[in-house]
Amino acid sequence: MVEGNDNQNFLDDLDSLIQPFKAVASPLQGFLNDLHAKYKPITAGAVADYIPELAKVDPELFGICVVTVDGQVFEVGDTNKLFTIQSASKPFVHGLTLEDCGRDFVLSRVGVEPTGDSFNAIILDEQSGRPYNPMVNAGAIATAGLVKGNNPTEKLNRLLDMFRRYIGRDVYVDMSVYTSERSTGHRNRAIAHLMLNFGMVDDNLEDMLDLYFKQCSVMVTCRDLGIMGATLANNGVNPITNTRALDSEYIKDVLSVMYTCGMYDYSGEWAYRVGLPAKSGVGGGIVAVVPKLLGIAAFSPRLDARGNSIRGVKACEEMSKHFGLHSFDLHDDYSKFLKSLTRSGQLS
Protein backbone atom coordinates (compact mmCIF):
# COMPACT_ATOMS: atom_id res chain seq x y z
CA MET A 1 0.00 0.00 0.00
CA VAL A 2 2.66 2.45 1.08
CA GLU A 3 4.71 1.70 -1.99
CA GLY A 4 1.70 2.27 -4.22
CA ASN A 5 1.03 5.64 -2.62
CA ASP A 6 4.63 6.70 -3.02
CA ASN A 7 4.52 5.77 -6.64
CA GLN A 8 1.29 7.72 -7.05
CA ASN A 9 2.87 10.78 -5.42
CA PHE A 10 5.86 10.43 -7.68
CA LEU A 11 3.61 10.36 -10.73
CA ASP A 12 1.77 13.45 -9.50
CA ASP A 13 5.10 15.22 -9.01
CA LEU A 14 6.26 14.12 -12.43
CA ASP A 15 3.02 15.33 -13.98
CA SER A 16 3.29 18.73 -12.34
CA LEU A 17 6.94 18.99 -13.40
CA ILE A 18 6.12 18.07 -16.95
CA GLN A 19 2.87 19.98 -17.46
CA PRO A 20 4.43 23.37 -18.34
CA PHE A 21 6.65 21.74 -20.94
CA LYS A 22 3.75 19.81 -22.35
CA ALA A 23 1.86 23.08 -22.61
CA VAL A 24 4.76 24.73 -24.43
CA ALA A 25 4.76 21.99 -27.08
CA SER A 26 0.98 21.94 -27.57
CA PRO A 27 -0.78 23.30 -30.66
CA LEU A 28 -2.73 25.63 -28.33
CA GLN A 29 0.52 27.29 -27.27
CA GLY A 30 1.47 27.71 -30.92
CA PHE A 31 -1.93 29.28 -31.57
CA LEU A 32 -1.53 31.68 -28.62
CA ASN A 33 1.98 32.65 -29.76
CA ASP A 34 0.64 33.47 -33.23
CA LEU A 35 -2.34 35.33 -31.78
CA HIS A 36 -0.03 37.40 -29.57
CA ALA A 37 2.32 38.17 -32.46
CA LYS A 38 -0.61 39.14 -34.69
CA TYR A 39 -2.10 41.75 -32.33
CA LYS A 40 1.09 42.91 -30.62
CA PRO A 41 1.71 45.67 -33.22
CA ILE A 42 -1.70 47.32 -32.62
CA THR A 43 -1.23 50.68 -30.94
CA ALA A 44 -4.77 52.06 -31.23
CA GLY A 45 -6.54 53.29 -28.10
CA ALA A 46 -5.28 54.95 -24.96
CA VAL A 47 -4.51 53.87 -21.42
CA ALA A 48 -6.92 55.00 -18.71
CA ASP A 49 -5.68 58.30 -17.32
CA TYR A 50 -8.45 59.55 -15.04
CA ILE A 51 -5.92 59.05 -12.25
CA PRO A 52 -2.18 59.52 -12.83
CA GLU A 53 -1.34 56.11 -11.32
CA LEU A 54 -3.12 54.29 -14.15
CA ALA A 55 -1.49 56.43 -16.85
CA LYS A 56 1.94 55.25 -15.68
CA VAL A 57 1.47 51.72 -17.03
CA ASP A 58 3.60 50.64 -19.99
CA PRO A 59 1.07 50.66 -22.86
CA GLU A 60 3.06 48.05 -24.79
CA LEU A 61 2.33 45.29 -22.27
CA PHE A 62 0.28 42.45 -23.75
CA GLY A 63 -0.41 39.03 -22.30
CA ILE A 64 -2.84 36.20 -22.98
CA CYS A 65 -3.47 33.30 -20.61
CA VAL A 66 -5.70 30.26 -20.94
CA VAL A 67 -6.39 27.96 -17.98
CA THR A 68 -8.34 24.73 -18.36
CA VAL A 69 -10.67 23.31 -15.73
CA ASP A 70 -8.12 20.54 -15.12
CA GLY A 71 -5.52 23.16 -14.21
CA GLN A 72 -3.37 23.35 -17.35
CA VAL A 73 -1.97 26.83 -17.91
CA PHE A 74 -1.06 28.21 -21.34
CA GLU A 75 0.34 31.71 -21.51
CA VAL A 76 2.11 34.11 -23.82
CA GLY A 77 3.52 37.60 -23.37
CA ASP A 78 3.28 39.74 -20.24
CA THR A 79 1.21 37.38 -18.11
CA ASN A 80 3.13 37.98 -14.89
CA LYS A 81 2.95 41.80 -14.74
CA LEU A 82 0.79 43.17 -11.95
CA PHE A 83 -1.96 45.63 -12.76
CA THR A 84 -5.09 46.80 -10.94
CA ILE A 85 -8.10 44.58 -11.45
CA GLN A 86 -10.54 47.53 -11.61
CA SER A 87 -14.00 46.53 -12.87
CA ALA A 88 -12.93 42.95 -13.52
CA SER A 89 -13.37 42.58 -9.75
CA LYS A 90 -17.12 43.15 -10.00
CA PRO A 91 -18.41 39.64 -10.83
CA PHE A 92 -16.33 38.11 -8.06
CA VAL A 93 -17.61 40.53 -5.42
CA HIS A 94 -21.11 39.95 -6.79
CA GLY A 95 -20.57 36.24 -6.11
CA LEU A 96 -19.40 36.94 -2.57
CA THR A 97 -22.50 39.00 -1.77
CA LEU A 98 -24.77 36.29 -3.18
CA GLU A 99 -23.17 33.92 -0.66
CA ASP A 100 -23.43 36.55 2.09
CA CYS A 101 -26.99 37.75 1.55
CA GLY A 102 -28.69 35.24 -0.72
CA ARG A 103 -30.09 35.71 -4.21
CA ASP A 104 -33.36 37.40 -3.30
CA PHE A 105 -31.87 40.08 -1.10
CA VAL A 106 -29.11 40.92 -3.59
CA LEU A 107 -31.74 41.14 -6.34
CA SER A 108 -33.80 43.52 -4.22
CA ARG A 109 -30.83 45.91 -4.08
CA VAL A 110 -29.24 45.51 -7.53
CA GLY A 111 -30.94 44.49 -10.78
CA VAL A 112 -29.68 42.22 -13.54
CA GLU A 113 -30.70 44.32 -16.52
CA PRO A 114 -28.09 45.48 -19.04
CA THR A 115 -27.92 49.21 -19.72
CA GLY A 116 -26.83 50.80 -22.93
CA ASP A 117 -25.21 53.52 -20.87
CA SER A 118 -21.55 53.82 -20.02
CA PHE A 119 -20.10 52.16 -16.94
CA ASN A 120 -20.01 55.32 -14.83
CA ALA A 121 -23.46 56.65 -15.73
CA ILE A 122 -25.32 58.30 -12.85
CA ILE A 123 -28.51 56.42 -13.49
CA LEU A 124 -30.84 54.11 -11.59
CA ASP A 125 -33.90 52.12 -12.63
CA GLU A 126 -36.72 54.67 -12.27
CA GLN A 127 -39.29 52.07 -11.24
CA SER A 128 -37.37 50.24 -8.55
CA GLY A 129 -34.71 52.77 -7.63
CA ARG A 130 -32.12 50.00 -8.00
CA PRO A 131 -28.93 50.26 -9.99
CA TYR A 132 -29.38 48.34 -13.25
CA ASN A 133 -26.81 45.59 -12.64
CA PRO A 134 -23.71 44.74 -10.56
CA MET A 135 -21.31 45.35 -13.48
CA VAL A 136 -21.88 49.11 -13.80
CA ASN A 137 -20.32 51.34 -11.15
CA ALA A 138 -23.61 52.12 -9.41
CA GLY A 139 -24.44 48.43 -9.04
CA ALA A 140 -20.91 47.50 -8.01
CA ILE A 141 -20.86 50.18 -5.29
CA ALA A 142 -24.19 48.91 -3.97
CA THR A 143 -22.81 45.36 -4.15
CA ALA A 144 -19.73 46.35 -2.16
CA GLY A 145 -22.13 47.64 0.49
CA LEU A 146 -23.54 44.11 0.86
CA VAL A 147 -20.26 42.41 1.81
CA LYS A 148 -20.66 41.01 5.31
CA GLY A 149 -18.37 41.99 8.19
CA ASN A 150 -18.55 43.65 11.60
CA ASN A 151 -16.26 46.50 10.61
CA PRO A 152 -14.49 47.82 7.50
CA THR A 153 -11.34 45.79 8.21
CA GLU A 154 -13.24 42.54 8.48
CA LYS A 155 -15.12 43.32 5.25
CA LEU A 156 -11.87 44.06 3.46
CA ASN A 157 -10.26 40.89 4.77
CA ARG A 158 -13.23 38.80 3.67
CA LEU A 159 -13.03 40.39 0.24
CA LEU A 160 -9.30 39.76 -0.05
CA ASP A 161 -9.75 36.18 1.19
CA MET A 162 -12.29 35.67 -1.56
CA PHE A 163 -9.78 36.86 -4.18
CA ARG A 164 -7.09 34.63 -2.64
CA ARG A 165 -9.32 31.59 -3.08
CA TYR A 166 -9.85 32.40 -6.75
CA ILE A 167 -6.20 33.20 -7.42
CA GLY A 168 -4.40 30.75 -5.16
CA ARG A 169 -1.85 33.22 -3.81
CA ASP A 170 -1.77 36.25 -1.54
CA VAL A 171 -3.24 39.46 -2.98
CA TYR A 172 -2.81 43.10 -2.04
CA VAL A 173 -4.41 46.46 -2.63
CA ASP A 174 -2.20 48.96 -4.44
CA MET A 175 -2.24 51.89 -2.01
CA SER A 176 -1.38 54.63 -4.49
CA VAL A 177 -4.11 53.61 -6.92
CA TYR A 178 -6.57 53.25 -4.06
CA THR A 179 -5.71 56.67 -2.63
CA SER A 180 -6.09 58.30 -6.03
CA GLU A 181 -9.35 56.53 -6.71
CA ARG A 182 -10.67 57.69 -3.37
CA SER A 183 -9.57 61.30 -3.73
CA THR A 184 -10.91 61.66 -7.29
CA GLY A 185 -13.99 59.45 -7.03
CA HIS A 186 -16.53 62.27 -6.95
CA ARG A 187 -18.69 60.74 -9.62
CA ASN A 188 -18.84 57.45 -7.73
CA ARG A 189 -19.61 59.38 -4.56
CA ALA A 190 -22.49 61.13 -6.38
CA ILE A 191 -23.83 57.75 -7.50
CA ALA A 192 -23.69 56.54 -3.90
CA HIS A 193 -25.63 59.59 -2.67
CA LEU A 194 -28.26 59.08 -5.35
CA MET A 195 -28.68 55.46 -4.21
CA LEU A 196 -28.89 56.61 -0.59
CA ASN A 197 -31.64 58.97 -1.66
CA PHE A 198 -33.63 56.00 -3.00
CA GLY A 199 -32.94 53.97 0.13
CA MET A 200 -31.00 51.37 -1.86
CA VAL A 201 -27.89 51.51 0.31
CA ASP A 202 -27.19 51.98 3.98
CA ASP A 203 -25.95 55.35 5.18
CA ASN A 204 -22.35 54.26 5.80
CA LEU A 205 -21.52 55.62 2.35
CA GLU A 206 -17.82 56.26 2.97
CA ASP A 207 -17.19 52.70 4.19
CA MET A 208 -19.02 51.29 1.19
CA LEU A 209 -17.14 53.51 -1.27
CA ASP A 210 -13.87 52.79 0.48
CA LEU A 211 -14.34 49.04 0.04
CA TYR A 212 -15.31 49.60 -3.60
CA PHE A 213 -12.19 51.67 -4.29
CA LYS A 214 -10.07 49.01 -2.60
CA GLN A 215 -11.62 46.14 -4.54
CA CYS A 216 -10.81 48.02 -7.76
CA SER A 217 -7.20 48.52 -6.60
CA VAL A 218 -6.44 44.83 -6.03
CA MET A 219 -3.31 43.87 -7.95
CA VAL A 220 -3.55 40.88 -10.27
CA THR A 221 -1.69 39.43 -13.22
CA CYS A 222 -3.10 38.17 -16.49
CA ARG A 223 -2.34 34.66 -15.25
CA ASP A 224 -4.35 35.35 -12.08
CA LEU A 225 -7.33 36.46 -14.15
CA GLY A 226 -7.04 33.31 -16.23
CA ILE A 227 -7.17 31.17 -13.09
CA MET A 228 -10.12 33.21 -11.77
CA GLY A 229 -11.97 32.61 -15.03
CA ALA A 230 -11.13 28.91 -14.91
CA THR A 231 -12.43 28.78 -11.33
CA LEU A 232 -15.81 30.06 -12.50
CA ALA A 233 -15.68 27.64 -15.46
CA ASN A 234 -14.92 24.85 -12.99
CA ASN A 235 -18.15 25.44 -11.06
CA GLY A 236 -16.45 27.61 -8.43
CA VAL A 237 -13.44 25.44 -7.57
CA ASN A 238 -9.94 26.76 -8.30
CA PRO A 239 -8.58 24.07 -10.64
CA ILE A 240 -4.99 24.49 -9.43
CA THR A 241 -5.46 24.59 -5.65
CA ASN A 242 -8.77 22.68 -5.62
CA THR A 243 -10.12 25.31 -3.19
CA ARG A 244 -13.74 26.30 -3.52
CA ALA A 245 -14.01 30.03 -4.19
CA LEU A 246 -17.74 30.32 -4.81
CA ASP A 247 -20.76 28.22 -3.86
CA SER A 248 -21.80 26.36 -7.02
CA GLU A 249 -25.37 27.54 -6.35
CA TYR A 250 -24.40 31.05 -7.52
CA ILE A 251 -22.23 30.29 -10.56
CA LYS A 252 -25.16 30.76 -12.92
CA ASP A 253 -26.02 34.13 -11.34
CA VAL A 254 -22.49 35.43 -11.78
CA LEU A 255 -22.01 34.07 -15.30
CA SER A 256 -25.35 35.22 -16.65
CA VAL A 257 -24.78 38.77 -15.42
CA MET A 258 -21.28 38.71 -16.90
CA TYR A 259 -22.76 37.48 -20.16
CA THR A 260 -25.35 40.23 -20.45
CA CYS A 261 -23.58 43.15 -18.74
CA GLY A 262 -19.85 42.39 -18.43
CA MET A 263 -18.37 44.40 -21.27
CA TYR A 264 -19.94 47.79 -20.47
CA ASP A 265 -21.98 49.16 -23.37
CA TYR A 266 -20.29 46.67 -25.73
CA SER A 267 -21.96 43.75 -23.95
CA GLY A 268 -24.53 43.03 -26.65
CA GLU A 269 -22.04 43.00 -29.47
CA TRP A 270 -19.59 41.00 -27.36
CA ALA A 271 -22.28 38.40 -26.64
CA TYR A 272 -22.98 38.21 -30.36
CA ARG A 273 -19.38 38.09 -31.57
CA VAL A 274 -17.55 36.25 -28.77
CA GLY A 275 -20.47 34.61 -27.03
CA LEU A 276 -18.87 34.16 -23.62
CA PRO A 277 -19.49 35.53 -20.12
CA ALA A 278 -16.73 38.08 -19.56
CA LYS A 279 -15.69 41.14 -17.60
CA SER A 280 -13.25 43.86 -18.50
CA GLY A 281 -11.51 46.47 -16.37
CA VAL A 282 -9.94 49.82 -17.23
CA GLY A 283 -6.62 48.46 -15.99
CA GLY A 284 -6.57 46.59 -19.32
CA GLY A 285 -7.64 43.16 -18.10
CA ILE A 286 -10.41 40.99 -19.51
CA VAL A 287 -11.55 37.68 -18.04
CA ALA A 288 -13.79 35.37 -20.07
CA VAL A 289 -15.30 32.02 -19.14
CA VAL A 290 -16.10 28.96 -21.21
CA PRO A 291 -18.26 27.01 -18.73
CA LYS A 292 -16.93 23.55 -17.85
CA LEU A 293 -13.90 24.10 -20.10
CA LEU A 294 -11.60 27.05 -19.45
CA GLY A 295 -10.91 30.59 -18.39
CA ILE A 296 -9.39 33.07 -20.83
CA ALA A 297 -7.61 36.22 -19.71
CA ALA A 298 -6.08 39.01 -21.73
CA PHE A 299 -4.17 42.05 -20.56
CA SER A 300 -3.28 45.08 -22.65
CA PRO A 301 -3.68 48.58 -21.19
CA ARG A 302 -4.79 50.53 -24.28
CA LEU A 303 -8.58 50.91 -24.18
CA ASP A 304 -11.29 51.72 -26.69
CA ALA A 305 -13.83 54.49 -26.09
CA ARG A 306 -16.01 52.12 -24.04
CA GLY A 307 -13.20 51.22 -21.65
CA ASN A 308 -12.39 47.74 -23.01
CA SER A 309 -8.85 46.61 -23.81
CA ILE A 310 -8.50 46.77 -27.59
CA ARG A 311 -6.00 43.96 -28.06
CA GLY A 312 -7.76 41.95 -25.35
CA VAL A 313 -11.11 42.11 -27.14
CA LYS A 314 -9.49 41.10 -30.43
CA ALA A 315 -7.61 38.20 -28.86
CA CYS A 316 -10.75 36.84 -27.16
CA GLU A 317 -12.82 37.28 -30.28
CA GLU A 318 -10.34 35.43 -32.48
CA MET A 319 -9.83 32.66 -29.96
CA SER A 320 -13.58 32.12 -29.62
CA LYS A 321 -14.02 32.06 -33.38
CA HIS A 322 -11.04 29.78 -34.03
CA PHE A 323 -12.01 27.11 -31.53
CA GLY A 324 -15.79 27.49 -31.79
CA LEU A 325 -16.09 28.55 -28.13
CA HIS A 326 -19.16 30.79 -28.60
CA SER A 327 -21.87 29.61 -26.20
CA PHE A 328 -24.27 29.04 -29.06
CA ASP A 329 -21.81 27.48 -31.47
CA LEU A 330 -23.34 24.04 -31.19
CA HIS A 331 -21.84 22.12 -34.07
CA ASP A 332 -18.38 21.43 -32.70
CA ASP A 333 -18.56 20.25 -29.05
CA TYR A 334 -15.15 21.82 -28.32
CA SER A 335 -13.28 18.98 -30.03
CA LYS A 336 -11.00 21.41 -31.90
CA PHE A 337 -9.98 23.03 -28.64
CA LEU A 338 -9.50 19.74 -26.79
CA LYS A 339 -7.32 18.42 -29.60
CA SER A 340 -5.11 21.49 -29.37
CA LEU A 341 -4.16 20.73 -25.76
CA THR A 342 -1.69 17.96 -26.58
CA ARG A 343 0.54 17.70 -29.58
CA SER A 344 -0.47 14.11 -30.18
CA GLY A 345 -4.00 15.43 -30.66
CA GLN A 346 -5.26 12.94 -28.12
CA LEU A 347 -7.02 13.73 -24.90
CA SER A 348 -5.16 12.84 -21.76
Binding site: L14, L17, F21, K22, A25
Partner: protein, 251 residues
Protein backbone atom coordinates in the same frame (compact mmCIF):
# COMPACT_ATOMS: atom_id res chain seq x y z
CA UNK B 1 8.46 21.55 -41.80
CA UNK B 2 11.57 21.55 -39.67
CA UNK B 3 12.26 18.42 -37.64
CA UNK B 4 13.54 18.79 -34.11
CA UNK B 5 15.75 16.01 -32.79
CA UNK B 6 17.00 15.84 -29.20
CA UNK B 7 19.94 13.74 -28.15
CA UNK B 8 19.91 12.89 -24.47
CA UNK B 9 21.53 10.60 -21.97
CA UNK B 10 20.51 10.32 -18.37
CA UNK B 11 24.13 10.23 -17.21
CA UNK B 12 27.26 11.99 -18.44
CA UNK B 13 30.13 10.54 -20.44
CA UNK B 14 28.02 8.44 -22.76
CA UNK B 15 29.28 10.10 -25.97
CA UNK B 16 26.19 12.25 -26.40
CA UNK B 17 27.87 15.33 -27.88
CA UNK B 18 29.94 13.28 -30.32
CA UNK B 19 26.83 11.44 -31.46
CA UNK B 20 24.93 14.73 -31.87
CA UNK B 21 27.74 16.29 -33.90
CA UNK B 22 27.98 13.28 -36.19
CA UNK B 23 24.22 12.94 -36.68
CA UNK B 24 24.01 16.64 -37.53
CA UNK B 25 26.94 16.57 -39.95
CA UNK B 26 25.73 13.40 -41.69
CA UNK B 27 22.25 14.93 -42.00
CA UNK B 28 23.73 18.11 -43.49
CA UNK B 29 25.84 16.01 -45.88
CA UNK B 30 22.61 15.08 -47.61
CA UNK B 31 22.15 18.71 -48.60
CA UNK B 32 20.14 19.80 -45.55
CA UNK B 33 20.29 22.99 -43.52
CA UNK B 34 21.00 21.91 -39.97
CA UNK B 35 21.59 23.66 -36.66
CA UNK B 36 22.83 22.30 -33.36
CA UNK B 37 21.88 24.01 -30.12
CA UNK B 38 23.98 23.22 -27.09
CA UNK B 39 21.42 23.40 -24.29
CA UNK B 40 23.91 21.74 -21.97
CA UNK B 41 24.42 25.11 -20.28
CA UNK B 42 25.89 23.57 -17.15
CA UNK B 43 28.60 21.60 -18.92
CA UNK B 44 28.83 22.72 -22.56
CA UNK B 45 31.23 21.01 -24.92
CA UNK B 46 29.99 20.30 -28.43
CA UNK B 47 31.70 23.46 -29.77
CA UNK B 48 35.05 21.73 -29.15
CA UNK B 49 34.21 19.04 -31.68
CA UNK B 50 33.77 21.80 -34.28
CA UNK B 51 37.14 23.30 -33.39
CA UNK B 52 35.70 26.42 -31.81
CA UNK B 53 37.70 27.94 -28.97
CA UNK B 54 36.72 30.36 -26.25
CA UNK B 55 38.10 33.44 -28.04
CA UNK B 56 36.04 32.75 -31.15
CA UNK B 57 32.85 32.51 -29.16
CA UNK B 58 31.64 36.13 -29.16
CA UNK B 59 28.04 35.28 -28.40
CA UNK B 60 26.40 32.23 -26.92
CA UNK B 61 23.00 30.83 -25.97
CA UNK B 62 23.52 32.52 -22.61
CA UNK B 63 23.53 35.97 -24.28
CA UNK B 64 20.26 35.14 -25.97
CA UNK B 65 18.70 33.96 -22.69
CA UNK B 66 19.81 37.24 -21.09
CA UNK B 67 18.18 39.09 -24.00
CA UNK B 68 21.45 40.60 -25.16
CA UNK B 69 21.04 39.36 -28.72
CA UNK B 70 18.74 37.36 -30.98
CA UNK B 71 19.32 33.63 -31.08
CA UNK B 72 20.44 33.84 -34.71
CA UNK B 73 23.10 36.36 -33.66
CA UNK B 74 24.44 33.67 -31.32
CA UNK B 75 24.76 31.16 -34.17
CA UNK B 76 28.01 30.23 -35.93
CA UNK B 77 28.32 28.73 -39.37
CA UNK B 78 30.55 25.71 -38.72
CA UNK B 79 29.82 23.96 -42.01
CA UNK B 80 32.72 21.58 -42.82
CA UNK B 81 34.10 21.90 -46.38
CA UNK B 82 32.84 18.45 -47.42
CA UNK B 83 29.34 19.25 -46.23
CA UNK B 84 29.36 22.61 -48.06
CA UNK B 85 30.31 20.78 -51.25
CA UNK B 86 27.28 18.56 -50.81
CA UNK B 87 25.09 21.68 -50.53
CA UNK B 88 24.42 21.39 -46.81
CA UNK B 89 25.16 23.71 -43.92
CA UNK B 90 25.70 23.34 -40.20
CA UNK B 91 25.12 26.11 -37.66
CA UNK B 92 26.06 25.88 -34.02
CA UNK B 93 24.59 27.82 -31.11
CA UNK B 94 27.09 27.16 -28.33
CA UNK B 95 26.60 27.60 -24.62
CA UNK B 96 29.07 29.83 -22.82
CA UNK B 97 32.20 28.15 -21.50
CA UNK B 98 33.04 31.09 -19.21
CA UNK B 99 32.80 29.98 -15.58
CA UNK B 100 31.18 33.27 -14.54
CA UNK B 101 28.51 33.00 -17.21
CA UNK B 102 27.72 29.37 -16.36
CA UNK B 103 27.46 30.40 -12.72
CA UNK B 104 25.16 33.29 -13.57
CA UNK B 105 22.70 31.20 -15.54
CA UNK B 106 22.65 28.60 -12.77
CA UNK B 107 22.08 31.26 -10.15
CA UNK B 108 19.50 33.31 -11.96
CA UNK B 109 17.80 30.67 -14.07
CA UNK B 110 16.17 31.67 -17.34
CA UNK B 111 12.80 31.68 -19.03
CA UNK B 112 11.86 28.39 -20.66
CA UNK B 113 9.37 30.30 -22.80
CA UNK B 114 12.21 32.47 -24.08
CA UNK B 115 14.27 29.39 -24.93
CA UNK B 116 11.29 27.88 -26.72
CA UNK B 117 10.64 31.11 -28.66
CA UNK B 118 14.33 31.20 -29.55
CA UNK B 119 14.34 27.67 -30.92
CA UNK B 120 11.26 28.43 -33.02
CA UNK B 121 12.76 31.68 -34.33
CA UNK B 122 16.03 29.96 -35.14
CA UNK B 123 14.23 27.39 -37.29
CA UNK B 124 12.53 30.19 -39.23
CA UNK B 125 15.40 32.62 -39.55
CA UNK B 126 17.97 30.05 -40.66
CA UNK B 127 15.34 28.20 -42.75
CA UNK B 128 16.38 24.95 -41.15
CA UNK B 129 15.48 21.46 -42.24
CA UNK B 130 16.69 19.91 -38.99
CA UNK B 131 17.39 21.20 -35.51
CA UNK B 132 19.51 19.01 -33.23
CA UNK B 133 19.53 19.69 -29.51
CA UNK B 134 22.44 18.51 -27.41
CA UNK B 135 20.94 18.28 -23.92
CA UNK B 136 22.31 18.21 -20.41
CA UNK B 137 22.26 14.80 -18.70
CA UNK B 138 19.50 14.04 -16.24
CA UNK B 139 16.17 15.83 -15.86
CA UNK B 140 16.20 19.61 -15.98
CA UNK B 141 14.34 22.44 -17.68
CA UNK B 142 16.39 22.37 -20.89
CA UNK B 143 15.94 18.64 -21.26
CA UNK B 144 12.21 18.67 -20.54
CA UNK B 145 11.66 21.49 -23.02
CA UNK B 146 13.81 19.78 -25.64
CA UNK B 147 11.98 16.49 -25.27
CA UNK B 148 8.62 18.28 -25.26
CA UNK B 149 9.22 19.99 -28.61
CA UNK B 150 11.15 17.17 -30.30
CA UNK B 151 9.86 15.14 -33.20
CA UNK B 152 12.43 12.51 -32.36
CA UNK B 153 14.36 11.72 -29.21
CA UNK B 154 17.60 9.75 -29.30
CA UNK B 155 18.70 8.39 -25.94
CA UNK B 156 22.28 7.22 -25.75
CA UNK B 157 23.40 4.80 -23.05
CA UNK B 158 26.23 2.48 -22.17
CA UNK B 159 25.70 -1.15 -21.21
CA UNK B 160 25.75 -0.21 -17.53
CA UNK B 161 23.14 -0.69 -14.83
CA UNK B 162 23.16 2.98 -13.85
CA UNK B 163 22.58 3.98 -17.46
CA UNK B 164 19.76 1.42 -17.73
CA UNK B 165 17.95 2.84 -14.72
CA UNK B 166 18.37 6.40 -15.95
CA UNK B 167 17.15 5.50 -19.42
CA UNK B 168 13.96 4.11 -17.91
CA UNK B 169 13.35 7.49 -16.26
CA UNK B 170 13.94 9.42 -19.49
CA UNK B 171 11.60 7.08 -21.36
CA UNK B 172 8.88 7.59 -18.76
CA UNK B 173 9.19 11.34 -19.24
CA UNK B 174 9.20 11.04 -23.03
CA UNK B 175 6.00 9.02 -22.94
CA UNK B 176 4.34 11.66 -20.75
CA UNK B 177 5.46 14.36 -23.18
CA UNK B 178 3.93 12.50 -26.16
CA UNK B 179 7.29 12.33 -27.98
CA UNK B 180 6.32 10.98 -31.41
CA UNK B 181 9.50 8.95 -31.98
CA UNK B 182 12.02 7.63 -29.47
CA UNK B 183 15.04 5.44 -30.13
CA UNK B 184 18.05 4.19 -28.23
CA UNK B 185 21.73 4.11 -29.15
CA UNK B 186 24.03 1.86 -27.13
CA UNK B 187 27.59 3.16 -27.02
CA UNK B 188 30.93 1.97 -25.62
CA UNK B 189 30.01 -1.71 -25.84
CA UNK B 190 32.89 -4.11 -25.19
CA UNK B 191 34.20 -5.52 -28.49
CA UNK B 192 33.74 -9.05 -27.13
CA UNK B 193 29.93 -8.57 -27.02
CA UNK B 194 27.81 -9.44 -30.02
CA UNK B 195 26.17 -6.16 -31.15
CA UNK B 196 23.08 -7.98 -32.38
CA UNK B 197 22.60 -9.63 -28.96
CA UNK B 198 22.98 -6.28 -27.22
CA UNK B 199 20.50 -4.69 -29.60
CA UNK B 200 17.89 -7.38 -28.97
CA UNK B 201 18.36 -7.38 -25.22
CA UNK B 202 18.15 -3.61 -24.87
CA UNK B 203 15.19 -3.16 -27.18
CA UNK B 204 13.24 -5.92 -25.46
CA UNK B 205 14.10 -4.51 -22.04
CA UNK B 206 12.79 -1.01 -22.85
CA UNK B 207 10.32 -1.85 -25.62
CA UNK B 208 11.92 0.89 -27.69
CA UNK B 209 13.82 0.41 -30.96
CA UNK B 210 17.62 0.43 -30.80
CA UNK B 211 18.95 2.43 -33.73
CA UNK B 212 22.57 1.40 -33.32
CA UNK B 213 25.12 -0.39 -31.15
CA UNK B 214 28.66 1.07 -31.09
CA UNK B 215 31.63 -0.84 -29.71
CA UNK B 216 34.39 1.00 -27.86
CA UNK B 217 36.45 2.53 -30.64
CA UNK B 218 40.18 3.32 -30.41
CA UNK B 219 40.04 5.95 -33.16
CA UNK B 220 37.21 7.76 -31.35
CA UNK B 221 39.25 7.84 -28.16
CA UNK B 222 42.33 9.04 -30.05
CA UNK B 223 40.30 11.78 -31.75
CA UNK B 224 39.42 13.02 -28.24
CA UNK B 225 36.69 15.36 -29.53
CA UNK B 226 39.28 16.95 -31.84
CA UNK B 227 36.96 16.67 -34.81
CA UNK B 228 33.80 15.14 -36.24
CA UNK B 229 34.53 11.41 -36.44
CA UNK B 230 32.55 10.68 -39.60
CA UNK B 231 34.53 13.38 -41.46
CA UNK B 232 37.92 12.33 -40.11
CA UNK B 233 37.28 8.62 -40.71
CA UNK B 234 34.77 8.50 -43.56
CA UNK B 235 35.35 4.83 -44.33
CA UNK B 236 35.48 3.49 -40.78
CA UNK B 237 32.84 0.87 -39.84
CA UNK B 238 31.84 3.18 -36.98
CA UNK B 239 30.96 5.84 -39.57
CA UNK B 240 28.91 3.30 -41.50
CA UNK B 241 26.94 2.63 -38.31
CA UNK B 242 26.52 6.38 -37.73
CA UNK B 243 25.05 6.74 -41.21
CA UNK B 244 22.53 3.99 -40.48
CA UNK B 245 21.49 5.68 -37.24
CA UNK B 246 21.18 9.03 -39.03
CA UNK B 247 18.90 7.44 -41.59
CA UNK B 248 16.58 6.13 -38.86
CA UNK B 249 16.59 9.38 -36.93
CA UNK B 250 15.72 11.75 -39.78
CA UNK B 251 13.17 9.64 -41.66
Amino acid sequence: MVKVISVHSFRGGTGKSNLTANLAVLTASKGNRVAIVDTDIQSPGIHVIFGMDEQEMQRSLNDYLWERCTITEASYNVTPADVAKAGGSVYLIPSSIKAGEIARILNEGYSVTLLNDGLRNLCQELQLDYLFIDTHPGLNKETLLSVAISDALVIILRPDRQDFQGTAVTLQVARKLDTPKTMLVVNKVLPSYDPQDVKEQVSSKFQVPVAGVFPVCDEMIQLASGGVFSLVHPNHPYTEQLKKVTEQVIT
